[in-house]
């Protein structure tokens, strides 16, 4: 919506600019001598007669009398005389023209190079100034002077034109008029001396005027004009808010695979190229061929279905494949359309692509169909309305193929004759049984049902045969005189017609229905396969899983051995062994060039694998290799399309996992960064606090000890000592943390009583904090646990220290130890402090939590609990924070599996010793 608005606004602005500034009208010719100046003057005369203020700025008549005559009577601005190196040169009087300010100025030879000393080097610059001044300019130019066509002209003629006009000037075009002259006539004019050529260049220019050069240049000129007309139209329409339509529209090429499809593609591509239009090639699969295509999907059926019909069908598909790959190489799009109505399918495709032209080959023209206006060509002509229909007559080979396929279509396949026979016999039997119940007229209904039955089950041919058989049987057995084929006009003719009509109508309906079902099934199987892949890929969390999921789905859907390599990761491992050196060469080529290679392609065909590139928006992520059974000579379009779509999806999934892992990486980096800064601030807080005390105390002693009593001096010394120890503890914590963080923690387990560990931790704590009271409640007879004693002691110490910090003075910290279910040891360490809000309980073990609180946190809370978690975690235990006893304070609960692990070992030990 927004983009459209902008476009419209731009167009309006452009329109406005056009209206105020002067506009350029260009008389464009393919070569000198086509009569541009003459045409310009003729137009000018006409305008002059109408009273338009028109002035000749400069016109080169080159002494040609007709041109001279045309110029007579038009107001002429005197030329400016300029001296240059002793020569008199004449140039257009730009200032004079600006002062005169006519409505229209004629300025011949836009590409002209002005004489030295002029204001502008080039005449087109003069023209620009005129336009800026609001003067409309009529000018002439030859196609080879257009800047953008310089190279093309050089290629065509071998002459490099140095006097070029920038294309931007053409943005100010009001009108472009093509002055056209067929090459032959131009050469004639040249030979009659009617074309002015500068003498010194005449020789060179003679070569320029070859018929082929002139034709090519003429085509260029025509194209250029068409382009500008197109742009012009689009802009005007856009300015009026109309839907932008383009003159240059899509070319749709329809092929059927019945001979000469490639020829048709080439012909169509040429048409499109000539128009500079995008193009695509389509084929319409009506049910029957899709049926065959489906069958070829499974190898078994390929091998078994060697009858003629499928053989021809295969030939047809191969031809379509070839034509499609040719089309893709030539830059066209390809698509298989599914529809029972070929005409409608083509018209729909043309509509969606915004096609202007439809290119078809001469179709099979059934004489009868032609009578009823049912041929594709006739139908298209009737219904295509605004499309341009190009029918390309293709050579003879086509006829042959057609006849074959027509034959094949009529052949009865497999069990059909049996069906006909059975149904016919059945109907005769039924009729015989029912004869005495029903009248003769009703008996015919029995046969009619038989015909309908066959028509709905089998091919049209079978239905017609059944109709004939039924009629004969009916006639022979039931119509008087019986057992003769004699038909009385009364009964016979009506019955025959009825039977045949029923057979044809029902057969047609049934076959159409069947085709639709088959087409649907084809579309459906594609969708199902893609959905299946999508589901599996969605579950894949990393590249390895994407590769595994992708290869398994590809393998099961396409019945081909699959190998995938994305970003250097390959899979499945079973496929890797089947890749030979030359297969890898093809795979690498595909990776490098982003194009398919190997089997079924034109590149590195000696590989038995078909390699498809896995593309992202920018680059080739990897390669998918598919190895179909060696008996499979070709890929159906469906298979190709399915494989390509699937590979595309796999690529997207791979890209997604790449993004996810990049995100994850960024997150981890962010977290590491966070951890680093948390650690830094922890160091600054936890280390500085004791340091501050030590420095302060030492400094006080140094400076003021003379003013202090001995008790104070002693106290300061104590401070230094205690704080020194505290510092040591923090550093130990930091070291532990580093060890835990780097997973480098190795447990040296030993058997030890938990009471011993608690005792040790308590003693240590009381040494630092003499006022702390600790109350133990440990179940008697607890067996020893198998842990790393020093680490668990440290963990207990940290939790107890933490509890002591929050306990009000004189209120003891309670350590309660129990054996619980699951052979675990439960250690509860409770304080009666302020407690922790529920939503923060989980977070207190988070390294960031306490550290981020910085100054606010109680001293020493930095890493202690995080370390506890690390230590207990390493012992496969867990830590949690719970509300304290009687709802006051906090209980930190450590759960250690002392049994499972340890008992296992003990058991093993026991078993071994037995």
């Amino acid at each position: 919506m927004g983009a459209e608005r902008t476009e419209q606004a731009d167009a309006l602005l452009g329109e406005l600019k056009r209206q105020t500034a002067g506009r350029l009208t260009v008389f464009l010719g393919a070569a000198p001598g086509v009569g541009k100046t003459y045409a310009m003057l003729a137009r000018a005369r006409e305008l002059h007669r109408q009273g338009v203020d028109i002035v000749i700025g400069i016109v080169e008549t080159h002494g040609r009398s007709e041109t001279q005559t045309m110029a007579e009577g038009l107001p002429l601005l005197p030329r400016k005389q300029m001296g240059y190196q002793g020569r008199q040169l004449e140039e257009m009087d730009l200032d004079g023209l600006l002062a005169r300010k006519p409505a229209i100025a004629l300025v011949d030879e836009l590409a002209h190079r002005n004489a030295p000393g002029s204001r502008h080097e080039r005449r087109w610059q003069d023209v620009e100034e005129l336009l800026d001044a609001g003067i409309d300019v009529y000018t002439t130019v030859n196609i080879q002077h257009l800047e953008s066509l310089n190279d093309v002209v050089h290629q065509i003629t071998g002459i490099r034109v140095s006097e070029t006009v920038p294309d931007a000037l053409f943005d100010r075009l009001r009108d472009i008029r093509l002055v056209d002259l067929p090459a032959r006539e131009l050469i004639e004019r040249l030979n009659h001396g009617k074309v002015y050529l500068p003498e010194q260049a005449a020789q060179a220019l003679q070569a320029f005027f070859s018929p082929s050069n002139l034709t090519a240049l003429r085509e260029l000129a025509i194209q250029t004009v068409a382009e500008h007309v197109d742009t012009d139209l689009r802009e005007t329409r856009a300015a009026r808010g109309m839907e932008g339509i383009s003159i240059q529209r899509h070319v749709l090429i329809a092929i059927d695979g019945r001979g000469q499809s490639e020829y048709l593609v080439r012909a169509g591509a040429k048409i499109a190229e000539r128009r500079g239009a995008p193009w695509s090639v389509v084929t319409v699969e009506t049910g029957r061929s899709a049926d065959a295509a489906l069958h070829t999907d499974t190898l078994n059926q390929v091998a078994s279905s060697l009858n003629k019909a499928t053989h021809i069908e295969q030939q047809r598909l191969i031809e379509i494949d070839k034509a499609f790959s040719l089309a893709r190489n030539l830059g066209g799009e390809t698509e298989v359309l599914h529809n029972t109505d070929v005409t409608q399918a083509l018209l729909d495709a043309a509509e969606t692509r915004g096609a202007r032209a439809i290119v078809i080959g001469r179709t099979r023209e059934h004489p009868i169909a032609r009578i009823f206006n049912r041929t594709l060509t006739q139908q298209l002509l009737q219904r295509c309305g605004r499309y341009e229909l190009t029918i390309v007559n293709t050579p003879q080979a086509r006829l042959h193929a057609r006849r074959l396929s027509a034959l094949a279509g009529r052949q009865l396949t497999g069990r059909e004759p049996l069906l006909i026979l059975l149904v016919s016999l059945g109907s005769v039997g039924t009729a015989a049984l029912a004869e005495h119940l029903l009248g003769l007229q009703d008996l015919s209904m029995v046969f009619l049902v038989a015909v309908l039955l066959v028509a709905s089950r089998a091919s049209m041919a079978s239905a017609v045969i059944t109709a004939a058989l039924s009629f004969l049987a009916y006639n022979f057995f039931f119509i008087e005189p019986r057992y003769t084929f004699y038909i009385s006009a009364q009964h016979g003719v009506v019955t025959v017609v009825l039977f045949l009509a029923a057979a044809l109508i029902a057969g047609r309906l049934a076959s159409r229905l069947r085709m639709q079902v088959v087409a649907l099934r084809a579309a459906n199987s594609y969708t199902t396969a893609m959905q299946n892949l999508g589901r599996k890929l969605a579950k894949a969390a990393d590249l390895g899983q994407v590769i595994a999921a992708g290869s398994s789905v590809l393998q099961s859907t396409l019945h081909a051995k699959t190998w995938i390599r994305i970003n250097g990761e390959t899979g499945p491992s079973t496929a890797a062994n089947d890749l030979t050196e030359k297969d890898l060469v093809a795979a690498n080529w595909t990776q490098q060039h982003g194009q398919t290679s190997g089997r079924y392609t034109d590149t590195l065909t000696n590989s038995s694998w078909w390699f498809l590139p896995v593309r992202s928006d920018k680059d080739t992520l990897g390669v998918v290799g598919l190895r179909f059974p060696s008996g499979m000579g070709r890929l159906s379009f469906e298979q190709r399309r399915l494989a390509e779509s699937m590979v595309e999806d796999i690529g997207q999934a791979a890209l997604r996992t790449r993004l996810v892992s990049e995100l994850e990486e960024a997150r981890v980096t962010g977290e590491t960064e966070r951890l680093r800064s948390a650690l830094l601030s922890s160091v600054s807080h936890d280390l500085r606090s004791p340091l501050s005390s030590m420095i302060g105390a030492a400094d006080s002693l140094a400076r003021y000890s003379a003013d202090m009593g001995p008790e104070d001096q002693q106290s300061l010394l104590e401070t230094i000592h205690v704080e020194g120890e505290r510092l040591d503890r923090y550093i130990q914590n930091l070291l532990d943390m580093t060890r835990l963080g780097q997973q480098g923690l190795t447990l040296t387990r030993d058997w030890i009583g938990i009471d011993e560990l608690v005792g040790s931790a308590s003693r240590r704590l009381q040494r630092y904090e003499p006022n702390v009271r600790i109350q133990h409640d440990i179940s008697p007879d607890l067996p020893p646990i198998h842990v790393h004693p020093a680490l668990i002691e440290q963990a207990l110490f940290n939790v107890m220290e933490n509890a002591a910090k929050f306990s009000p003075p004189e209120v003891p910290v309670l350590v309660q130890i129990r054996q619980i279910e699951g052979n675990k040891l439960r250690i509860d360490i409770s304080d009666r402090g302020p407690g922790i809000p529920e939503d923060e309980r989980r977070r207190i073990f988070d390294m960031f939590y306490s550290v981020e609180r910085g100054d606010r946190g109680k001293q020493g809370t930095g890493l202690g609990l995080t370390i506890v978690q690390g230590i207990v975690g390493a012992h496969m235990g867990s830590v949690e924070a719970l509300p304290g006893l009687e709802g006051k304070g906090t209980t930190i609960r450590l759960t250690l599996p002392w049994g499972g692990y340890a008992n296992q070992e003990m058991k093993e030990h026991d078993e071994r010793s037995q």
Binding site: S689, I695, V722
Partner: protein, 244 residues
């Protein structure tokens, strides 16, 4: 020794200093040092305790730690500033200047970054208590033998030579000298000298300080008189007064 409070003035009670810090060891050494220098001390381990002590017993100066268990030091500062103008020296482990500016804006008068030498803290404390006891109208305000600043006479001499200061230069110098040893924030200076609309124009000040330093023969990299606290403000280095 002229370091402590005026001990000769025995009639008056010694200045009382409230120390609010949750670290018992820090509290202890500050307490011992302050007492050794003749100050009276009040000690608090939490913000609430500190506020209560200030309200009930009163103090001439507060040393406030920012890392308190019950409430953030800034909250304590905000709370006490609602009813008290007592000078506050903040103890902080943070060293970013934004943080300091925030603290000073919130009502702190000065700060000391942990870990600190006790001498540094004492100097800050003295700077506040001194201004309170000395009258700004006193004779030559500053004289270290080299630089002599007489605010009354508006005369500044360096080694006996009169230094011609512009009006602004003199204003800045007197602003700093009147609060020797104390931090004067950039915002304060700008507001006082150029008015509230120029609080952001730090470059005025930078240029002025450079000129002033030059005239006083001072050196920004090793200041003898005017020290810059980067991003925070200026401080007139208070050498002990050579009172005549």
């Amino acid at each position: 020794m002229m370091r402590g409070p005026n001990r000769s003035n025995l009639g008056a009670s010694p200045p009382r200093i409230l120390v609010v810090d949750d670290e018992p060891q820090i509290r202890k050494f500050i307490d011992i040092s302050l007492r050794s220098q003749g100050y009276a001390t009040l000690l608090a381990g939490t913000g609430q305790e500190g506020l209560t002590l200030l309200a009930t017993k009163g103090a001439d100066l507060i040393v406030l730690d920012l890392g308190l268990p019950d409430k953030d030091g800034r909250e304590v500062l905000k709370e006490l500033r609602q009813w008290s103008r007592v000078p506050v020296i903040v103890l902080t482990v943070r060293s970013g200047e934004e943080e300091k500016v925030v603290l000073l804006d919130a009502g702190a008068n000065d700060y000391v970054t942990k870990p600190f030498g006790v001498d540094e803290l004492m100097a800050r404390i003295r700077a506040f208590l001194r201004t309170m006891e000395s009258s700004p109208d006193e004779g030559p305000v500053f004289d270290d033998g080299v630089l002599k600043i007489d605010l009354m006479q508006r005369e500044v001499t360096v080694q006996g030579q009169v230094v011609a200061l512009s009006r602004k230069e003199f204003a800045l110098l007197s602003l700093l000298v009147r609060q020797p040893g104390r931090l004067v924030t950039q915002t304060q200076i700008l507001r006082e000298m150029w008015g509230p609309t120029h609080e952001e124009d730090a470059h005025y000040l930078r240029i002025l300080v450079a000129k002033l330093r030059h005239k006083l023969g001072d050196n920004a990299s090793a200041p003898r008189y005017i020290a810059t606290e980067p991003g925070v403000g200026l401080r007139f280095i208070a050498k002990e007064r050579h009172t005549a």
